[in-house]
Amino acid sequence: MDAIFVFEQLLNGLGYGLMLFLIAAGLTLVFGIMDTMNLAHGSLYMAGAYVAARVHEASASFALAVLVAVLVTVAVAALLEVLVVRHLYRRDHLVQVLATFGIILIADDAVKAIWGVAPLMASTPAALAGPVQLIDGLPYPAYRLLLIGAGLLVALGLYLLVSRTRVGMLVRAGASNRQMAEYMGVRVGGVFAFVFALGAALAALAGALMAPISAVQIGMGEAILIPALVVIVIGGIGSIRGAFVAALLVGLVDTAGRAFLPPALRAVLPPSVAADLGPALAGIAMYVLMAAVLTLKPAGLFPARA
């Protein structure tokens, strides 16, 4: 295990963390502002991945694929908001779980009906297929660098939007005290719809970007949902800044756990025990992190609510 390997793993963790942030940002805003637990957020991620993979295949233009994926997903999300989610804002969290779980079931069947059961193999855009020589002895896939760059750019844009614009001010007001914001004359209905669409766009972007380096299949939304929920709980529900820090933390802990724990265990334990224990501990790492954070700071690292 040399410095270059460590550096490479850190970059991988950064990329994964940034993609988690894209998903968690929408989730934490919807949760923080509308107090709505939306399990179907993962389905929007899945929609983005599927649309991007198919458009990329048909048109051979990756940029177009990402754009279409985001637009289609936002349209689907708007429909979803009007038909279902809008009527859930004032209901119990458990009722929201029930309804959005129903949406997951419907979404999975819809994807199965449109694109079939077999996973899609999304290809990396040709221009970015090769490696880039970052430093001596470390070739790094160009596509993963794009991922990191895009993630950082979107995070910066989101930060500016939330902290520097009027819409962002309304969003923050809603997250810190929704009722007071309503009394002050904020048209929360419009802010809600905007936030939901924004969250959907970010999830679709993450899905489209992740498609070439992960399996595009039914159930991918449910698989990414749990780490995203872990991120927003660690960061503090409703806090974009919290989601960013927590996403990077989870991304690094998860990647580092998978890369470094098994070899470290092999060095100190008998091989048969290490072979069982290593992957288990690596899979558990992010949940241990969450349990530890919640024990020390029960409302997350950056509580949004005063």
Binding site: F31, M37, L39, V84, H87, L88, R90, R91, D92, H93, L94, V95, V97, L98, A99, F101, G102, I103, I104, L105, I106, D108, D109, A110, K112, A113, E222, I226, L229, V230, V233, I237, A275, D276, L277, G278, P279, A280, G283, I284, Y287, V288, M290, A291, L294, T295, P298, A299
Partner: protein
């Protein structure tokens, strides 16, 4: 009002909004009172009657339904009566199932020993997890129970001694003592039915005991119960551990039923499904859990016969329940004076 994870301002909204008149129970009070015994009798005779109609396959199906209903009833107990919205209940089912696997792998073959151990192991596990989780509130409780269940899931995936991701086959049926033939499917059916009846009777009893009322008090107003001198944390922990133990028992039975155990039974969607079935039936209502489980699994079974796309009608059903029958199905069977249901 069951309002496990929300603030008081919402509770008032809900109380005003939803109080459907119990119709069936008003028209046929006697029928509704005797219905549980009737159902039990029909279920007991089912293995004998099934061959007449060519329904042998469904004996196994009903057995699975009963086992899932036991797990759902235990979740209903902590969620409906105790207000603890746990999204990791399948984790305890898994602990029970893997306890059976571990004992079989070590050479034991007694069903009673294996299921008893499943109950104890899951109860112990739930006590430990509850001791940490119950210090959090609301959404954070949902998330931390989910996190612990995920840890158990990854633990099971990594146990290569027991098959890891591929699971572990239990090829010989467990022995049930001298008088019961453990290998006979009908005998196993009756054993499961007996255990399920005991579990439901016990939960019915506990719901109307001092402990049950104390739990409901905590659900409705924790601060007040603490001010009245109830050991709130200890009561919740006791309820959580008991529910975990019963879920473990269901897991042990499920292991025998499937003759196979894999980490899939403790995936988080299984926890969510349990939650969904309980809420479908009626949260905090005595017969809510079995009703919800029966409806869900029967629909699933029937839809699978006709189409590959059997998820979306179930999803639509969930949306319908949320918007049309927020109290769940069991509310239909309640008598006006409130004695038919649990609250």
């Amino acid at each position: 009002m069951a309002n496990p994870v929300s603030d008081p301002s919402r509770a008032t909204v809900q109380t005003a909004a939803a109080h459907p008149q119990p119709r069936l129970a008003v028209r046929f009070p006697g029928l509704v009172r005797r219905l549980p015994w009737l159902v039990l009798a029909v279920l007991a005779l089912f293995p004998l009657l099934a061959p007449l109609g060519g329904l042998e396959y469904y004996v196994g199906f009903v057995r699975r339904l009963l086992i899932v209903a036991i797990a759902a009833a235990s979740l209903n107990f902590i969620l409906g009566y105790g207000g603890m919205a746990a999204l990791g209940h399948a984790g305890f089912v898994g602990v029970g199932a893997y306890t059976v696997v571990a004992l079989v792998d070590a050479g034991f073959s007694s069903a009673w020993l294996a299921w008893g151990a499943a109950l104890l192991a899951a109860g112990l596990c739930a006590a430990l997890i509850g001791a940490v989780s119950l210090r959090t509130r609301g959404v954070y409780f949902i998330m931390i129970t989910l996190a612990f269940a995920q840890m158990l899931y990854y633990l099971a995936v990594s146990l290569r001694t027991y098959g890891g991701d591929d699971g572990y086959g239990l090829y010989t049926p467990l022995a049930m003592g001298a008088w019961l033939d453990g290998a006979h499917p009908d005998v196993f059916y009756w054993v499961v039915l007996g255990i399920a009846a005991l579990v439901f009777a016990a939960f019915g009893r506990v719901a109307h005991s001092r402990f049950g009322y104390a739990l409901r008090g905590i659900r409705d107003n924790e601060t007040r119960m603490a001010a009245l001198g109830y050991p709130v944390y200890r009561l919740k922990l006791a309820g959580f551990a008991a529910a975990g133990a019963v879920a473990g028992l269901a897991g042990g039975l499920l292991a025998s039923h499937n003759a196979f155990v894999s980490p899939a039974i403790m995936h988080w969607t299984q926890s969510a499904l349990l939650l969904v079935m309980v809420m479908l039936g009626g949260l905090g209502r005595r017969w809510g859990a079995p009703l919800g489980v029966a409806l869900w699994l029967t629909l699933e079974e029937m839809l699978k016969l006709y189409t590959d796309y059997w998820h979306w009608p179930l999803g639509l059903l969930l949306l319908l329940v949320v918007f049309r029958a927020p109290q769940g199905l069991a509310a239909l069977f309640e008598r006006r004076d409130g004695h038919g249901g649990a609250r």
